[in-house]
Amino acid sequence: MMESSDSERRARLTEADLRRADGTVRLAWGQLPAAHRELLKEIGASHWQVVGEPLGSVVDGLLRSGGHPGLSRGNQRSLDGALAVWIEQLRLMVMDGGHRLLDGLDESAYERFVFNNAWHEWGHALSIGLCSAEDVAAGRRLLELAPEGIRKNIRQGGYRSSQYTHELVANVYALLMIRRRQDLLERPQWLNEEIYRLLVRVTGWTE
């Protein structure tokens, strides 16, 4: 359950705030390589929704509306602090456009953060859709090969080891997209070759 201050803050959200977030996600979509957009469309991952409420109840409602079982209260609570979620069953990315971490960001930081969140989730969609069971099983080992900052971020997120590969792909994918903004397409020096090959395989990343 979110704190009352979160509820109060969300009560001040306007339609314009959500439109801003949605428009920023659209910009992030437009900056994906065309081939990636096509791949995401192919796997049914080209739709998103920006909401202004904690994601637990939103996702519960979306699942029930789609004829799926809803979420338990515990599962709703575990989603409530999330920035975004990719829901495989619904082929839908849902982003919390009223998340507390968006508060107080200047324009460029806001754009950067929303871009990152969107690219992260599309990285997830590709990873979940295209990683093999062996890739997922290798998550713990791959995480050890990741740069310290990424490793720490994933550990702080409290993910299960079965999620490490997907988190790794999503984190690195967002970083590769940032580098692409500066026309840098080759493997970064800080990225282990095996992780890079995984990214190339599941996202179709090309130099």
Binding site: W29, E88, G129, L130
Partner: protein, 69 residues
């Protein structure tokens, strides 16, 4: 390019029990957007890349609008 594989087994998501596949993006409890940026900037700087964020251009905004039309 890899082919889409079957969906993961129920419960193999990331912390949501028995409800199928989810991929949740969350930062650590005390982390902020600036912490995330700092981590990313450190990696970019390590290879000599200016991490200064390049905001979207007017042309990109127009392209995004066209894509959504």
């Amino acid at each position: 390019m890899a082919k889409r594989r079957d969906l993961q087994a129920v419960g193999e998501g990331d912390g949501l029990d028995g409800v199928g596949v989810f991929a949740v993006y969350k930062l650590g409890k005390d982390q902020t957007a600036q912490d995330l940026f700092a981590m990313q900037d450190e990696l970019l700087l390590s290879e000599g890349i200016d991490p200064t964020w390049v905001p979207s251009t007017a042309a990109e905004r127009a392209e995004a609008e066209a894509l959504s039309a």
